[in-house]
Amino acid sequence: MWNSYRRILSHVVMGLCGLSVLVALVPLALILFYVLTQGLTSLNWAFIFDMPKPVGEPGGGMANAIVGSLYVVGIGAIFAIPVGILSGVYAAEYAGTKLAGAVRFAADTLNGVPSIVIGVFAYGIAVLPFRQFSAMAGGVALGIMMIPLIMRTTEELLRLVPGSLKEGALALGATRARAVFTVVLPAALPGIMTGILLALARISGETAPLLFTAFNNQYFSTDLRQPISTLTVQVYTYAISPYDDWHRQAWAGALVLVAIVLTCSLLARAATTRMERMRRGA
């Protein structure tokens, strides 16, 4: 009696575990379904190449916001990639030092800071002093969010490079800098690029830190000192508006965002599995 109770309980719990996977996949499927069906009906060339139209006029697009997003994410990447890679190199090369421990801790901390707080910080250092919302400030906010992602990826991938490679370079008389930059880093580069790609994908979906840094702009702008429109903020503005036409545009924008994220994730996944296969083969 007791034993059959135990067996049944075991099966029930196992069943519940399987069920919880389904429970989590249902919202994922629903979100992708709605974004796809709602988005496809309003996604067209005009959406990508046209400027927003005033309320009431149908049509129009998000050309300025798409370019704006590219700008802001690009500025962020220019800030974040050197800082992320070089501090990652330090953490991997001097792994046992106090500073390496501290920078790892700082990166993990930064990774956990809510994006809205990053936005407030970027407002303090990049908007207030100039009394002006700007594309630059938005880039600073996104850059800060990218740094810990890139730093951690770099560190981990450098550690995966076999020590014999570096030792070989050192034995041939290379300095440490030379060994790292010409042998170890290139060996880890495909992985680091993948990490950067994923960081870019994640960052291009951020809205909260841009609300009061890059702000918004209904015109086409490429001026770094001026407010700039971004895809995410535009989707937000349209989503909370009362107009049906704008809602359709918001869905189209969401579709573009999800497509970016999905493409990057799949590319990265393909790259990672290929690298893993290579490593196992070697």
Partner: protein
């Protein structure tokens, strides 16, 4: 890596200082966030003191700033989200690490982590147009006798605490489940084998593993909690943005991150701005503490025998 000082060559020194400078820059950046948030919120800190967190009236026009409803909304929504997501996240972790056939593991990991990769704004959009109407129907269908319970009182608006908690729960699942999975992986196989050898059923063996991994599991849940606290866009769009303290799941409420998102760009007078930044400062400190505790728990798991457990979730799809 301690080397005798005389052994450090000048070019090595340049390399070390050069890369070290960027490491220091990163650390300084994190410290600067705290300092800057404090500096920009002095006005409000001095003007209101603790009063700020003990009063309920938020009226920027009258210069009255009481932030208690926001901290309530943030904590309530996050705790509800964790209550909903924890069993699901644990179930997923157990299924993937213990039960799933090996060919199914990688795709399932990818799919659950895709949940973390979808931008917050997309969750918000979906929440407003799909989840909220659904929740409204649920609320309308609530039987009358249940409506007398404070938890389910109030008009069925759809927009409100329940929608926010549900959407947060979905968003938090991948974070908790990926750490819980890693933690379970770190439990030595001998634990399970020992349990089976004593005649345990599958669930009893897994329960042993869960018990062994308890600190790490708590850490995984806390990590999700930290995420939920700071989540902004999706919550802002579905919670109703009404500063009130209520137990009701149907009531529109407000969170700390939402009030910053809504009012920051329009805050004209300094006191209003400083009050909002003070909310940001407190949010920063709370998430710092929660994440710190969570990391300590997960690390302490890694220090036991077995493979090291990462304190930050390795979200392949997300980051």
């Amino acid at each position: 890596m301690a080397r005798p000082r005389f052994n450090v060559r000048p070019d090595e020194l340049v390399f070390r200082v050069g890369t070290g400078a960027f490491a220091v820059f990163l650390i300084a950046g994190v410290l600067a966030i705290g300092v800057e948030l404090y500096r920009q919120s002095r006005l409000s800190l001095h003007e209101f003191g603790w009063q700020f967190w003990q009063t309920d009236v938020w009226d920027p026009v009258a210069g009255q700033f009481g932030a208690r409803p926001f901290i309530w909304g943030t904590l309530y929504s996050s705790i509800l989200a964790i209550a909903i997501s924890t069993p699901i996240a644990l179930g997923i972790a157990i299924y993937i690490s213990e039960l799933a056939p090996s060919w199914l593991r990688a795709p399932l990991v990818f799919l659950t982590e895709l949940l973390a990769a979808i931008p917050s704004i997309v969750y918000g959009l979906w929440g407003v147009f799909v989840l909220v109407p659904f929740v409204r129907q649920l609320e309308v269908a609530t039987p009358a006798w249940l409506k007398s319970v404070p938890l389910f009182s109030g008009p069925p608006l759809g927009i409100g605490m329940l929608s926010a908690a549900l959407i947060l729960a979905i968003m938090v699942i991948p974070f908790s489940s990926s750490v819980a999975r890693e933690v379970l992986k770190a439990v030595p196989q001998a634990q399970r084998e020992g349990a089976y050898a004593l005649g345990a059923t599958r669930w009893e063996a897994i329960r042993m593993a869960l018990f062994y991994a308890r600190t790490g599991i708590v850490g995984a849940v806390m990590l999700g909690f930290g995420r939920a606290l700071g989540e902004t866009m999706a919550v802002t769009m579905v919670i109703g943005n009404n500063p009130q303290i209520s137990w009701s799941l149907f009531a529109p409420q407000y969170t700390m991150s939402a009030v910053i998102a809504n009012e920051f760009a329009e805050a004209t007078d300094n006191l209003h701005l400083h009050a909002l930044i003070e909310i940001g400062l407190v949010l920063f400190v709370i998430t710092l503490i929660i994440n710190g505790i969570s990391r300590t728990f997960i690390w302490s798991m890694g220090r036991q025998r077995g493979p090291r457990v990462r304190a930050t979730p390795r979200l392949k799809a997300a980051a």
